[in-house]
């Protein structure tokens, strides 16, 4: 499982305050804790700063990478912010995200093709959000074909099947799961990624729902997830499911996590 650590997002108050005050120490600590907990990428998102987003995102890139030796996931729907942030990034970042929305696609394509990077392909169609499995797979296929047509290798594409709340339509969970499975089988080598929290919008005990959704997504083939790796109950789910799916030789990672006190219910 590729883990994209989600905590450095200015929609969280403590992060917004730290960015406002340019408190590098606080940001570095959050980044390091997530790196130590097993992150493969550190997500940075400064979207709530609106017209100051570009500056804030660039500051986050330099601040995190000055102390933590991991690639970042540059997270913004704003192509300009991604284009500026990638110039400062050391190594190959993940860009989150491109979609079929025409303006966004056209603006990001030159960024994605001119820098070595991984890219999240969000299943948003040009004029609507997909709801069924077929619609999701259709958008995913078109995104994959257009991106690989521009020379981006399949294994650097992370399809986000678009997670929507089951509280509004109970079919949304299974639609995402089946879309993951279709995409992984239809394009061997491609990655799939998603966040977990949208699924539980409007319901109680969201963390429990999110954990179970992670387990199901993994069973349907999800290869990367945007989550909080310092959340031990969530990571206990991840370690045990990886093991149960036969992806943890000699159960090594699970046992190691247990010995580190991280396997908690």
């Amino acid at each position: 499982m590729i883990i994209v650590a989600e905590k450095i997002n200015t929609s969280r108050r403590s992060i917004a305050e730290a960015v406002e005050k340019r408190d590098a120490g606080f940001i570095v600590k959050v980044a390091r804790d997530q790196a130590d907990a097993g992150a493969n990428y550190i997500d940075v998102n400064a979207g709530t700063f609106l017209d100051r987003e570009v500056d804030c995102l660039c500051w986050l890139v330099e601040t995190v990478q000055s102390e933590v030796d991991l690639p970042l996931c540059l997270d913004s729907p704003n192509p300009t912010a991604l284009a500026e942030a990638i110039k400062l990034h050391k190594g190959e970042p993940m860009l989150n995200s491109i979609s079929l929305e025409e303006d966004r696609f056209e603006a990001l394509l030159p960024v994605v093709t001119s820098h070595p990077c991984h890219v999240v392909a969000l299943c948003m169609a040009q004029t609507s959000m997909p709801t069924t499995v077929e619609e999701r797979v259709h958008v995913a296929s078109e995104l994959i074909n257009r991106l690989t047509g521009e020379g981006i290798p399949l294994e650097k594409i992370y399809v986000d099947p678009l997670v929507q709340p089951v509280s509004v339509d109970v079919r949304m969970g299974i639609a995402t799961l089946e879309a993951i499975s279709h995409v992984m089988k239809g394009f061997p080598g491609v990655n799939t990624i998603c966040g977990l929290s949208n699924v539980s919008f409007g319901l109680p005990q969201r963390r429990l729902i999110n954990r179970n959704f992670l387990a199901l997504c993994m069973a349907y083939g999800l290869s990367a997830a945007i989550l909080d790796p310092t959340d031990n109950p969530l990571m206990a789910t991840l370690f045990s499911v990886e093991m149960l799916l036969g992806r943890d030789e000699y159960c090594e990672n699970f046992i190691e996590a247990y010995e580190n006190g991280r396997i908690v219910g």
């Binding site: 929609s11 979207g47 709530t48 609106l50 987003e53 913004s76 729907p77 704003n78 929305e101 303006d103 948003m124 169609a125 004029t127 609507s128 959000m129 929507q164 709340p165 509280s167 509004v168 109970v170 919008f201 409007g202 319901l203 109680p204």
Partner: protein
């Protein structure tokens, strides 16, 4: 005023079959249509919205109640003459330009409808010009705008600006909402109100129009 206890209970539970039967029963026994609407359906939905805002019930339960009310309305609607309908007010709602998210906006629409407002839903990716054109056409009391992305939030002030240019800004109250939207942002862009969820959207809308209860 008649007693609509069984109807209220059915709407609260989201039991469509019972609620429709109770509505029919009320009509058959000669209850006034406006009375059924106000004291049976709307009063119940007000309570549902309030319980939702307080976290006592959850989205699926609220949706179910709203759908139940919609089914009951199908029996009442043909009995209203166009002129008789006493609406709480007209609300024009849409997700702003560049944004395709509609879940929150739909929840707000449903609850506003449940509270007795007349809704015109413009859908998603609604350009400022479209808002202007529809405000002129529908003459709403309230314009509701939704955005789920920080990148599409600026469509809100642009829409307000377009309404100003068309000299119709002062004819409507403007409400905004959506995950990245805040009370502070509403003040900055000079919207009249911000609502954090579908239940409080109803309360805020009533406040804006000076409707009590």
């Amino acid at each position: 005023m008649s007693d609509f206890k069984a109807l209220a209970e059915a709407v609260t539970k989201g039991d469509i079959k019972t609620a429709v039967a109770e509505t029919q029963k009320a009509l058959d026994s000669g209850s006034n249509v406006q009375d059924i609407l106000d004291n049976g359906l709307i009063a119940t939905m007000d309570e549902v919205g309030e319980r939702f805002s307080k976290g006592l019930i959850f989205v699926p339960q609220m949706l179910r109640s709203a759908r139940t009310m919609q089914e009951c309305m199908k029996l009442l609607q043909p009995l209203f003459q166009e002129s008789d309908v006493t609406s709480k007010g007209k609300v024009l709602i849409g997700t702003v330009k560049g944004d395709l998210h509609d879940i929150g906006k739909n929840l707000v629409s449903m609850m506003m409808e449940g509270a007795g407002f007349t809704i015109t839903d413009l859908g998603v990716d609604v350009a400022p010009e479209k808002f202007v054109q529809k405000v002129q056409e529908v003459e709403p009391d309230i314009v509701g705008m939704s955005a789920l992305l920080s990148t599409t939030m600026p469509s809100m002030p642009l829409t307000i600006e377009a309404l100003q240019k068309a000299e119709i800004r002062d004819k409507v109250k403007i409400m905004i909402g959506g995950a990245p939207v805040t009370e502070k942002y509403a003040q900055e862009i000079k919207a009249d109100s911000y609502a954090s969820d579908a239940g409080s959207a109803v309360t805020k809308a009533k406040e804006l129009l000076g409707i009590r209860g």
